[in-house]
Symmetry: C2
Subunit: 297 residues, 2 copies
């Protein structure tokens, strides 16, 4: 798929994800409107909307047509956003800027950013649960559990915990794999698995999709480690060399650049191979998996 | 009900709530075990377990027998606990002690306390959603939405937001009522409403119970304001006069002590009257409502 066509297909899907998300954002009114403004500011900070796009693409690919996927698309982006808001706080990464825009606590203060993250996670659960109003079925119930397991201590929060403890000391490759697979990979795995489950895909397909998603997420994070060494601050839009500066073990510092590149390729080949083995394929999804792995920023 | 009997009945219910909660607490293992230890430390810090006790008592009173209430009991206590962990953080109340024990961030550091709160809210959603494994029904779906609405920006988080903005300036009685009804009342209302909904109580009973719970929660907070003026640090176990010191408007500072006492009595009478009008009553629940309103600490 050439760059122009991919860009057009990606834009169309991102815009759909944003339109869905907007439907579920709360009105900025009432005596609690400051926290709602902080939540909406955070959600509207842009980004690729990768998780809802992956979820919806998997849902469509596996034959999904029901309205249940939309509340889950909104919910997973709310979860991703809350994690960024809390990660940026002074007690974690202490970042003043993200994607060239002031972070939530830099605009609204620490207390409001903390509450905005809490509000977003709560709203994510309420929003996902609203899918039951359309279809009260075991598959919606299962999707809800998969989503919050991927977001929680056995997923994103668990990976973040190990990452915090990795700061300033030298971890081994098992720890780095754990962090990469959980901190970012778990929510990508949840995104695609939820899509397949809501569509009612057979169990063997759900398994293939979940495994492919886990590989995509892991490769994505190894690429992050590679770019921190090989890219420039201008291209990346954020400081490079930060892992080295913070004495963090990374895939590259432990395995070397060549091995890291080879493993990204192997993980991506395995993921795309898995997706290509399914009875119904999405050319866009396979292309997206490749482009995430070989991105230059 | 005399003090001895009430204490015995309360202890029995609290112990049951704690046994239920323990079943849903995660094992302290894996590379993320620090956050899990912080979560369990927070949950095991004691307290009255008021919300799961109120939920279960309402569930039993309205004829509930299914196993669906237990995951919701655990979930609401996890939500209450996450809110305490985040409230105690330096960017909010900056408390080093709670109930005579070091707060979570004082023991595990700010980053871990932030993540422990996030992990608890996520686990609360996953735990409540596990009720679908027992019974996949619209009433479980509705209970889940009620719980997270009560916890979120239209409930607890919304009240907390208004409370943060109330610090250091003088708010009117509408703002104080908003804070009291949402910050504490909304989760108490959710507790009892979830109990009734899970039990399958008729709509008119659900409404009476929700209204009574809202009054109980509001009266509880007005009593808090009264005790901050009339009690002593020794009896209360926390510093009195803190509202005045922080220039916070309270029910007492705006309405006077006499009116505050009269309104606690009126709210409680209305709540107990509502509960007493139901076809099935719980003597314990009515007694608990009264004792919460007239407590001296």
């Amino acid at each position: 798929m050439d760059d122009t066509r991919f860009a057009a297909e990606m834009r169309q899907r991102r815009e759909y994800a944003e339109a869905v998300l907007e439907k579920y954002l709360p009105a900025e009114e009432g005596l609690q409107k400051t926290v709602i403004r902080a939540m909406n500011y955070s959600v509207r900070s842009g980004g690729k909307r990768l998780r809802p796009v992956l979820m919806n693409e998997t849902f469509r690919m596996t034959g999904g047509t029901a309205g249940t996927v939309e509340p889950f698309m909104a919910a997973i982006e709310m979860i991703h956003t809350y994690s960024l808001v809390h990660d940026d706080l002074p007690s974690l990464d202490n970042d003043e800027y993200r994607r060239g825009r002031k972070t939530t606590h830099a605009v609204f203060g620490e207390a409001m950013a903390l509450l905005a993250g809490d509000g977003l996670q709560g709203l994510a659960c309420e929003t996902a649960a609203s899918a039951f109003d359309t279809e009260c079925s075991p598959r919606v119930a299962r999707a809800l559990q998969i989503l919050f397991r991927g977001a929680g201590i056995y997923g994103m929060v668990g990976g973040q915990t190990a990452d915090v403890e990795n700061g300033g000391r030298r971890a081994g490759i098992e720890t780095v794999e754990f962090i990469h697979r959980l901190k970012c990979g778990a929510l990508i795995e949840a995104a695609m698995t939820v899509g397949a489950v809501l569509a009612g895909a057979p169990e063997d397909e759900v398994k293939v999709i979940g495994d492919a998603a886990a590989d995509i997420g892991y490769a994505f994070q190894i690429r992050d480690d590679i770019l921190d060494v090989t890219s420039s601050t201008e291209v990346l839009g954020k400081p490079v060399g930060s892992d080295e500066k913070n004495c963090k073990s990374t895939y590259v510092s432990l395995m070397g650049l060549e091995k890291a590149e080879a493993d990204v390729a192997a993980l991506t080949e395995r993921a795309v191979g898995g997706l290509a083995s399914l009875p119904h394929r999405s050319e866009f999804l396979e292309e997206l998996a490749r482009r995430l792995a070989y991105r230059d920023k």
